[in-house]
Symmetry: C2
Subunit: 328 residues, 2 copies
């Protein structure tokens, strides 16, 4: 198990190789700290109590504000806070818009080569506004505005895909966002390993965020909850540290992106056949963020998105998507 990701760079990282293969391999961390198997439980009453118990958990949970304080880096904390609050706002927009019913929201615009929805632009604007208000961000760049844009703050630069929603948000599949924070004011000539922090936001039945920082080992998962005094709060819900390799093929997952690339890429076709023959479980929702995130949570599996040339180009960009996901 491990996460391999092949991405054709269309980013601003001009110094980087065009084909980036990030193979975290066996070192990828994904152990559930507070997650032990229940085994055979026959009492439904006990199960129900456990399930309900969870709702009350947040009162003693680590909140985002405490977590940010522990970071010991006020500028980075302020930057991350802006990203978290953007995600909370965007989650509300997606949840209540019921966008299919009038023209515009989830329609394909067709103005760019990717599918694009009005909700993507809305998410982009929310990030822009919150990061501008933070005062700690000098430069931003997004998949919607793929340029270095100075926004007047000082300390950090942020690259993001505000909403990787193409083809999934209208059918109500989980969709995601990826982001990376670098120290300084440049988003060119930088490297993924220099990230100060990076994360993957998922808008599913729950709104959650996986965050990694350069200062700490492991990855923290936050969930947006309304349990504390009626106020929406982000709380830490998981920490992923090591990968479980006890049974490497037990429910191993494969998420093969850009399957059309098999037409011109015999190696990829062979790889797909290998997974099918080895009885890997297929789980591919069509969004990089949910498809990578499931592997971290399950602690096993592989995500791929190789280039297939002109008829099936890879659509994952190093700056906005691959570097943050690989860092996580």
């Amino acid at each position: 198990p491990g996460v391999a990701m092949a991405a054709r760079s269309r980013s601003l990282l001009r110094g980087a190789a065009l084909l980036c293969v990030v193979a975290a391999g066996d070192s990828l961390s994904a152990h559930r700290v507070a997650h032990g198997p229940l085994g055979r439980v026959v009492s439904r009453h006990a199960l129900r109590a456990r399930a309900l118990g969870m709702v009350q958990l947040e009162a003693k949970a680590l909140t985002l504000s405490n977590w940010l304080e522990d970071l010991g880096n006020p500028g980075l904390a302020r930057t991350l806070e802006a990203i978290f609050s953007s995600a909370a706002e965007v989650a509300g927009k997606i949840r209540t818009s019921s966008c299919d019913s009038v023209e515009g929201c989830f329609n394909t615009l067709g103005a760019l080569d990717d599918e694009q929805f009005a909700i993507d632009l809305l998410a982009n604007e929310v990030m822009y506004e919150r990061l501008s208000s933070a005062g700690t961000v000098a430069t931003i760049s997004s998949t919607q505005d793929p340029y270095e844009i100075p926004i007047g703050g000082r300390g950090f630069s942020v690259a993001f895909d505000p909403l990787d929603s193409a083809a999934s948000v209208d059918v109500n599949f989980a969709v995601g966002s990826s982001w990376g924070v670098w120290t300084g004011s440049k988003l060119t000539g930088i490297k993924g390993r220099d990230l100060a922090a990076a994360g993957l936001t998922i808008y599913g039945p729950r709104t959650a965020m996986l965050v990694a920082t350069g200062a700490r080992a492991g990855v923290d998962e936050f969930v947006l909850t309304d349990a504390i005094d009626g106020v929406w709060q982000w709380v830490v819900s998981n920490r992923f540290e090591t990968i479980d390799e006890d049974q490497p093929f037990r429910r191993a997952i494969f998420a093969p992106g850009n399957l059309r690339a098999t037409a011109g890429n015999a190696g990829y076709r062979e790889l797909i056949d290998f997974y099918i023959e080895r009885c890997y479980h297929l789980r591919y929702s069509g969004g990089m963020v949910p498809d990578v995130l499931q592997l971290v949570i399950k602690g096993r599996g592989i995500f791929a998105n190789p280039d297939g040339g002109a008829p099936a180009p890879a659509r994952i960009r190093l700056l906005y998507e691959a570097a943050p996901a690989a860092f996580v």
Copy 2:
């Protein structure tokens, strides 16, 4: 395009064939009534206005209570109302539980042959309680309690899978529920075509429900929204009537379930190869409800879940899942 579904029956419909293939084929309805392409739009301001405009739509939207009144069948309306209100409650549980952080909620119990989570049992209990209170339901049966259970009401019988969450709810993918309502007090000796109503609930970034009734053509999509006077309401957000066959291979989707069945099923393996060669888009989240529902919303594609014998049995049951989905 069309929806093909192969399901090995493990249901109470003892009279039905063990292998049920429901092929809706070209007659499946999936036209978006209020959904026209925007074309090239260059003004971001206009886009933003459209996106925000959507949030205000609900004030003039058809609400669930009006829709139920139009049904002209008070008993059925009361039954459906119980199902809708169950879904709203379950959505809240899933959204706020942040269940990964304490043992129990999303852990595999291992007591049955399917993966099972405490949240599944919770969803089952919510349905049981609401349907019992309705007074219009004589008999229920669910995947969690696969028996005919009398609950004291009169008029209808309801079969349901309360939450098809296995392997998807912990990773925050969209999950779903399927349900069917028959007139009378029996869930044996009945047929899918006799359904009084059936539906698919999806818990994704939005909570939505696709509903078909025997009395009306087409399928209505409802979305749960909090836009009207601060009260959570179900509003009609889409109606699907005809399938778009203009460009049959334009972004055709394939959702191949039980891929491990290809090991012992050469025909299925050939079918998979066909889809890959024809450049169908792979979208398979691992849950029947979201994977079927995406096809209705997109208006094209195929879902399959054939049996693969003892090593890879099909897990879709006729009574709880296949009949309701095929009816929709």
